[in-house]
Symmetry: C2
Subunit: 212 residues, 2 copies
DNA sequence: CGATAATTTGACCGATTGGTAAAAGCTTAC
DNA sequence: GTAAGCTTTTACCAATCGGTCAAATTATCG
């Protein structure tokens, strides 16, 4: 007659940790591919290799899975921007930010699509995170960039739109992967496309922001 | 005892045209906001101000609405790229392509999100269009850009990734609108953001592609 | 071992889903 | 006007949805 999530013992069971991990993995697969509304608990349970009631023993509702999944993924997702260093050399910082974001698009496309789906559909579950922590982080880094521009280290430009453009160009390779592959065609769509993209984007941003 | 869509008279009724138009409008609202799987026929019927069976009299299935909606929207969506002129001056062509795409993100965000949702979820309904007509169009324009680069009119760069980056940066303002607004905050998120974006993107691409 | 707590299952629920059938109501051309 | 064809509605269906419940099973610990 136990209450879900071990009300009596307080600490988490080994089984709990394992199962919750499997559920998060499965939920990332399903939510990133179909969005929140398009996903069903059954699909997640199937992907996690367990029955629906069993899954609901660990997470009370579909929304609970989604919310916790986003929470856990969001912090790592913002890591590259957080690593953006005010003390570094502008060129090197921008170049490595692009590199990191592109690597994330290549190595964690599900995470990218999870957010893309969410934001695309109006961000009903993460609007607070956007207005709060995200905005604060971007405000801070925008100030850094503005400082570089004032000091003549990079061209004068709107730092917010610069950040947006780095986000969009890099995440494009995760979110619109099918389209990118379709347009590039069989021969060019191999893993080399990320190297090509990196080369192009570095040229674009570094030359585009060079002082003239 | 009539069969849907006027099997006997062949030509379309006035009522048919009006109702199908209303359904397309409603479907664009709903599909663009929630994706295919997340949308329901009831929602579309509601938005179109008619009953579900009435809507299904004009379109046999949910898929049929979606397919025809995408067909009708796709050609106008590719118009700016089609207008890309090989004979024009490279700088002017690129600048006006960015302008047009940005205007479309501002004026037709639903269309942008319709495709974004579709591609994001693996493009199950438009993969053929991507591999066929879209790829052909991009191949053609990529060749134009390559010619400009060879002639030294713009910097050497991968034309495909250039096109991808223009798509992603401009469509970002439609697809990720909520995020853009949230990050910019109340004061900066007015309609002026499109002018700011245009200025930034023109600077980025024109300086980034200038021969040096 | 035995008991207590944690986990899993199968059977089930009401609401919503995409879609159908048939008849009633409405237009239009003659 | 009237008949043929077009449109709309009402009532309905089977499947799927998110979620519950109680009982059965398994793990843990003294």
């Amino acid at each position: 007659m136990a209450v879900p999530r071990a009300a009596k013992t307080q600490r988490r069971t080994r089984i709990q940790e394992e199962k919750e991990e499997r559920i998060f993995e499965a939920a990332l697969d399903v939510f990133s591919a179909q969005g929140f509304r398009g996903s069903t608990i059954d699909q997640i349970a199937d992907a996690a290799g367990m029955s629906k009631p069993n899954l609901l023993y660990y997470f009370r509702t579909k929304e609970a899975i989604h919310r916790q999944l986003i929470d856990r993924v969001l912090s790592t997702w913002l890591e590259p921007l957080r690593a953006f260093d005010a003390e570094g050399r502008p060129e090197a910082e921008i170049r490595s930010y692009i590199r990191r974001k592109l690597e994330m698009a290549r190595d964690f496309p599900r995470e990218s699509r999870l957010f893309a789906n969410e934001v695309l559909q109006g961000a009903p579950h993460i609007e607070d995170e956007l207005r709060g922590p995200l905005k604060e982080l971007v405000d801070e880094k925008a100030e850094v960039i503005r400082g570089w521009a004032r000091a003549g280290k990079i061209a004068k430009c709107d730092p917010y739109h610069l950040i947006f453009s780095i986000w969009s160009t890099t995440q494009h390779y995760a979110d619109f992967d099918v389209q990118v592959r379709a347009v590039l065609g069989q021969e060019q769509a191999g893993e080399g496309r990320f190297e090509d993209a990196a080369r192009f984007l570095e040229q674009l941003f570094l030359d585009g922001l060079r002082v003239r």
